[in-house]
């Protein structure tokens, strides 16, 4: 069974335009904004420029999720596939909304990478179980980044948008964990504070 090991996870995050350091996820961005490299440093001074860079980092996550669910659909059947199809649509909605916000803020939205580049960075996925584990891991990466990113956003409306996306990703995790287990609530809603740090 293929698993998202620490080493291939790092590679996957690199390709996604993200970096993971010392257990915390920092939006690294991959183009456009000069101040994106500073996003991993805890800093209470929020600015509109940094807001834009954070949203562009979030866009990288969403583009990666779109690529992952696109790959995953071929491995899934039945109810799980129907959930994944809806999640794919929702990730596309997130990406479109974030790209629109970056544009309205005067920035250049980060573009999705070629599908092959994502595919090469993903772990080997041989079936439904592999994909469910990988998708849970990926959703948790996003959740972790959003929980850390929200306090850094200056604009309250942007915080609301990101929180509404975070909450959708949290629901995805619950459904994915349910598909991997017998559906017991303890297995699908694991922690009272959703941080994305729970193991997949």
């Amino acid at each position: 069974m293929a698993r998202t090991t620490p080493s291939n996870r790092r590679e996957f995050l690199r390709v996604a335009g993200l970096s993971a350091t010392a257990g915390t996820l920092a939006f690294a961005g991959c183009g456009g904004d000069d101040d994106e490299s500073a996003l991993g440093i805890p800093d209470p001074r929020a600015t509109p420029q940094r807001d834009r860079a954070i949203l562009n980092g979030a866009l990288n996550l969403e583009n990666t999720a779109v690529a992952a669910y696109t790959v995953g659909l071929a491995l899934l059947r039945g109810a799980v596939r129907r959930h994944a199809e809806r999640f794919l649509d929702q990730e596309r909605e997130h990406a479109a909304a974030l790209a629109g916000l970056v544009t309205r803020m005067g920035g250049e939205p980060n573009r999705a990478k070629p599908a092959e580049e994502y595919r090469a960075a993903f772990p080997r996925l041989e079936g439904e179980t592999d994909f469910l584990r990988f998708a849970t891991d990926l959703e948790n990466v996003g959740i972790s980044a959003y929980v850390e990113g929200i306090p850094k956003l200056k604009d309250g409306r942007l915080r609301q948008t990101v929180a509404s996306i975070l909450s959708d990703e949290a629901q995805h995790v619950t459904v994915l964990l349910g598909a991997r287990s017998d559906g017991r609530p303890e297995a699908t809603v694991r922690e009272p504070f959703v941080t994305g740090k729970a193991t997949a």
Binding site: D168, V189, F193, V194
Partner: protein, 143 residues
């Protein structure tokens, strides 16, 4: 409205959340996954109450809202779960609004992680009602 007032409002809501799930647990009407969910979620709502209470104490608040008195749950299992789902929607709306008002980074991080947990509760409750657990891309507690 300052952070303290926002958190006071959220605490009152979380206290009601504990009550909602406590009523479900004590009703004796639930079984299987529904009973397990009610018990699990009651415990998680208590953790939210504890966290917000600590945050308020850290802000120097001396007067905290009192927990509402327990009441008997009325209605069949479906109605009870629907009521819990409606309450979760109200909680999510409150946290969504709080994200625009809160200033403290630590409180924002807590609010984000709690809102996501309430969204998960809602997903499970919707599944118990035979509905789509995640029907919208932007979870705001509306619609």
């Amino acid at each position: 409205m300052g952070d303290r007032e926002v958190v006071l409002g959220l605490l009152a809501l979380e206290q009601r959340s504990v009550l909602v799930y406590d009523q479900l647990v004590r009703s004796g009407k639930l079984s299987g996954s529904a009973a397990a969910a009610a018990e699990l979620f009651r415990g998680q709502e208590r953790r939210h109450v504890d966290a917000l209470t600590q945050a308020l104490k850290g802000m120097g608040a001396t007067s905290l809202p009192k927990a509402p008195s327990p009441q008997d749950a009325r209605g069949d299992v479906g109605e009870l779960i629907r009521l819990a789902a409606e309450h979760e929607m109200e909680s999510i709306r409150a946290y969504y609004e709080a994200h625009a008002k809160l200033r403290s980074p630590a409180l924002l991080a807590t609010a984000a992680s709690v809102m996501a947990n309430e969204a998960q509760h809602l997903a499970v409750l919707r599944q118990l009602l035979g509905r789509d657990p995640s029907p919208v891309a932007f979870v705001t507690g509306r619609g």
